[in-house]
């Protein structure tokens, strides 16, 4: 049946003429262009003439009553293709031609049989009704087509707007769609917090910028929330100003300059334009609240950090300070204390002071690393040296623990900042010491894995709480929040910051045999040639005797 449909469509031309319309502005809805009307009348004459020619060849074989149908087909085709008026013309022409050529006596308007008068009347009536109906059909098809186009244009606009993340994107999308939909130039003016309109910051085509006078009217439209330029409030230059009214605020003004003045005054066009403005206003408001929500998130996060910092500080600084004040006042009171007690007091004092000092050091490190104040002092280093110095720095905290160090002798020089890497080892070893019994062992091992050196620090402690393997690297987070162990939960966060600055990674895992394993990687890089040149002078050394 497809070919039948296609054939009919070609004959009537409905699809073709609709497909040619890209704008949603219907130029011929009210009245067709004069040129097409004259062509329509021509075709009406032609169609009747063609029907007459066919009828004349059949005149001898068929009754005139049957030949009437040929004319009706011609009327239908003309009405479908060219609308109302050519259809009416074709109707009258058909009756006339029928009378002159097919009803005896031929070639005269007179009729021999008066019953034909009834035939003429019915024929004219049917032709007019058919032409009216088919022309209406065509009109309906056009309207349906425009409605569908409007709906899909609105759909496209809202779809594109929903993806917009900034006001600039909204402006670009809105202008693109509006200009295609309304055959007009458009501009979007956004208002700031105080309700003042501003020209868009970025404008690719300066000629599109509205003039200052337009800005004033736009401001008026914005402040009074009134649309200017549509049928109820016309403007002198036919420019339309639509306030972008969103549920909470008026977000700006949409300015539309139509190419063809007055074409926007159709009620349907006005409604469409207002719908577009509402869509844009909603999009602007959505973007605004997304920004508000993001700012709130950032504020909440920094608030959370500040709170955890404060609670950490109040607990971890106040505790040692309390003991320091208590112990030192006991010493200062001058009461008779045994030498043994004195020594104990002094040792506790020292311990707490060292604890405070470490805490402050970590806080300072964190602050510096995050302020970007630390510039890596990268040099080609031996890992062994840093491990050694970290172990000697922590000799006090590690007292009694067995530390196995397994570094392959083939380990090349690595490019890192020795002071910062020492902090990494100190923090990891300090954690291992904090969370394990004083007689348990700690292992430090390194191996080459791909383009990295992978260093693991293992202990036999309780391990990392399940599911916390990643969270413990966040600032101010601790494996056990209520732990009595000291520290503010900065150590691992510092480690991660340092390693990421070196292009490495750090993660935590639990060993299958129990205990935690912290692993970090450092890129191997391309170490310089490792053989130093001989000293310039002879190997004989002059040294004082």
């Amino acid at each position: 049946m497809n070919w039948l449909q296609r054939g009919f469509a070609t004959l009537t031309g409905v699809d073709k003429s609709l497909a040619g319309l890209t704008s949603i502005v219907p130029p011929s809805l009210k009245s067709g262009a004069p040129r097409t009307r004259w062509i329509g009348f021509g075709w009406a004459i032609l169609a009747c003439a063609f029907a007459t020619v066919v009828a004349l060849t059949l005149r001898s074989m068929l009754d005139p009553a049957n030949l009437v149908l040929l004319y009706l087909v011609a009327v239908v085709l003309v009405a479908v293709r060219f609308g109302h008026k050519p259809g009416i013309l074709a109707s009258f022409l058909a009756v006339l031609a029928f009378d002159v050529f097919l009803v005896p006596p031929y070639h005269s308007l007179t009729v021999a049989d008066t019953q034909y008068l009834l035939t003429f009347a019915i024929m004219l009536m049917v032709a007019l009704i058919i032409s009216h109906l088919t022309a209406n059909l065509r009109h309906q098809a056009l309207i349906a087509h425009y409605r569908e186009r409007r709906a899909s244009a609105l759909f496209d606009l809202s779809k594109d707007l929903s993806a917009a993340l900034t006001n600039q994107q909204i402006a670009d999308i809105g202008i693109l769609h509006l200009e295609a939909m309304f055959l007009a130039k458009a501009a979007l003016l956004f208002s700031d917090r105080h309700g003042t309109l501003h020209l868009p910051a970025i404008q690719s085509d300066p000629s599109r910028l509205p003039a200052d006078a337009m800005l004033d009217i736009a401001q008026q439209a914005h402040d009074q929330q009134i649309t200017f330029g549509l049928s109820d409030t016309p403007t002198a230059d036919n420019v339309v100003y639509l306030p972008l009214r969103a549920p909470m605020h008026t977000r700006g003004v949409l300015v539309v300059v139509p190419e063809n003045p007055g074409q926007l005054l159709l009620p349907e066009q006005e409604r469409l334009l207002q719908t577009c403005a509402a869509q844009i206003a909603l999009a602007v408001e959505r973007v605004h609240y997304v920004e508000v929500a993001q700012a709130a998130m950032v504020a909440m996060e920094s608030e959370r950090l500040r709170n955890s910092l404060l609670s950490a500080l109040s607990h971890d600084i106040r505790t040692p300070l309390t003991t320091i004040v208590g112990l030192s006042s006991a010493l200062a009171s001058g009461r008779a204390l045994t030498d043994e007690t004195r020594r104990e007091l002094a040792e506790s004092l020292q311990e707490d002071a060292i604890r405070l000092s470490n805490l402050v050091a970590n806080l300072l490190d964190m602050a510096k690393l995050h302020a970007g104040a630390v510039k890596l002092n990268r040099q080609w280093q031996m890992l062994e040296e840093v491990v050694g110095s970290a172990l000697s720095m922590l000799s006090r905290a590690l007292a009694g623990r067995r530390v196995d160090v397994t570094l392959p002798s083939s380990l090349p020089l690595l490019d890192f900042d020795a002071v910062l890497m020492e902090r990494v080892f100190c923090n990891l070893l300090d954690n291992a010491a904090k969370y394990t019994d004083s007689n348990s062992g700690i292992r430090i091992a390194a191996e080459i894995a791909g383009g990295d050196v992978q260093v693991a620090i293992e202990d036999n402690g309780p391990g990392v709480p399940a599911g916390m393997e990643e969270a413990i690297f966040a600032k101010f987070s601790r494996g056990e929040p209520e732990s009595t162990r000291t520290g503010v939960g900065l150590g691992l966060s510092i480690c991660r910051t340092i390693l990421e600055a070196h292009g490495g990674r750090i993660w935590a895992e639990n060993r299958s045999e129990g205990g935690a394993r912290f692993v970090f990687t450092l890129p191997l890089g391309h170490p310089p040639a490792d053989e130093a040149p001989d000293p310039p002078e002879s190997p004989k050394v002059d040294f004082p005797l």
């Binding site: 080609w380 110095s389 002071v419 004082p544």
Partner: protein
């Protein structure tokens, strides 16, 4: 320990730290002259001829490193510098300018006294003229006369560079040597930027002389600053 008949000038602007240092030092029988500013300190050193200077690098009136440079134009006495952690660059500058050692705040009295003893002994023993051609540290004996190094009575073979490095450390035993100073002493000027040579040879020395090279007891790394031989 026997009381040292020594005199120390203390240049530090913080009153509490001065008080702590004075108490610690006087408890050891050391005479202390205090100075609050760099200028007062220079005057005190000029008039009192102390045996050692303790200098805080953060002074209100002048840069500590500059003070060391001025002092080194006419005085050879040991200079012990006090500095905050994570200011390695400042420490290196001070050492390169002529300071002998540094202490990182906060520090304990035992740490302070250990350093002071080493430097006073070096000064009184006049290390530039050792009385014996033998030097001991741990199980290692260095015989300068025969250029022989033994560890636990077994001969250790050192390359010329390693031997040179070792003698440089021994000459400055107890003192921190910066990378630049060591490179200059062993390789001569012009190699100051090749500190990785130094690290490799230091590693070799530790392999040959230390019981546990990963935890050296004698050839100690001062991270970010240099090395020190602890005998």
């Amino acid at each position: 320990m026997s009381q040292l008949p020594a005199h120390i000038v203390l240049i530090e602007d913080d009153k509490q730290i001065r008080r702590f240092l004075r108490m610690t030092l006087e408890a050891e029988g050391i005479a202390v002259s205090e100075a609050e500013t760099g200028r007062q300190g220079l005057t005190a050193i000029g008039t009192r001829c102390p045996d050692l200077v303790i200098l805080d690098l953060g002074l209100p009136d002048m840069d500590g490193v500059e003070l060391i440079r001025q002092l080194r134009t006419w005085a050879v006495l040991p200079i012990l510098v006090l500095s905050a952690r994570s200011e390695e660059g400042q420490k290196v500058d001070a050492l390169d300018a002529g300071a002998d050692d540094y202490l990182t705040k906060p520090f304990g009295s035992s740490e302070l006294m250990a350093r002071i003893r080493v430097h006073l002994r070096r000064r009184f023993d006049n290390p530039s003229e050792p009385t014996t051609p033998l030097f001991h540290f741990g199980a290692v004996v260095v015989d300068f006369l025969h250029r022989r190094v033994t560890r636990a009575d077994e001969t250790v073979h050192l390359t010329p560079i390693e031997y040179k490095l070792l003698t440089a450390l021994i000459r400055n035993s107890g003192k921190v040597l910066t990378h630049t100073q060591l490179l200059r002493e062993v390789w001569g000027t012009g190699h100051a930027d090749r500190s990785h040579y130094l690290r490799i040879y230091m590693g070799h020395l530790r392999q040959k002389l230390e019981a546990d090279p990963a935890r050296p007891a004698h050839i100690v790394t001062e991270t970010g600053v240099g090395y020190r031989l602890v005998s």
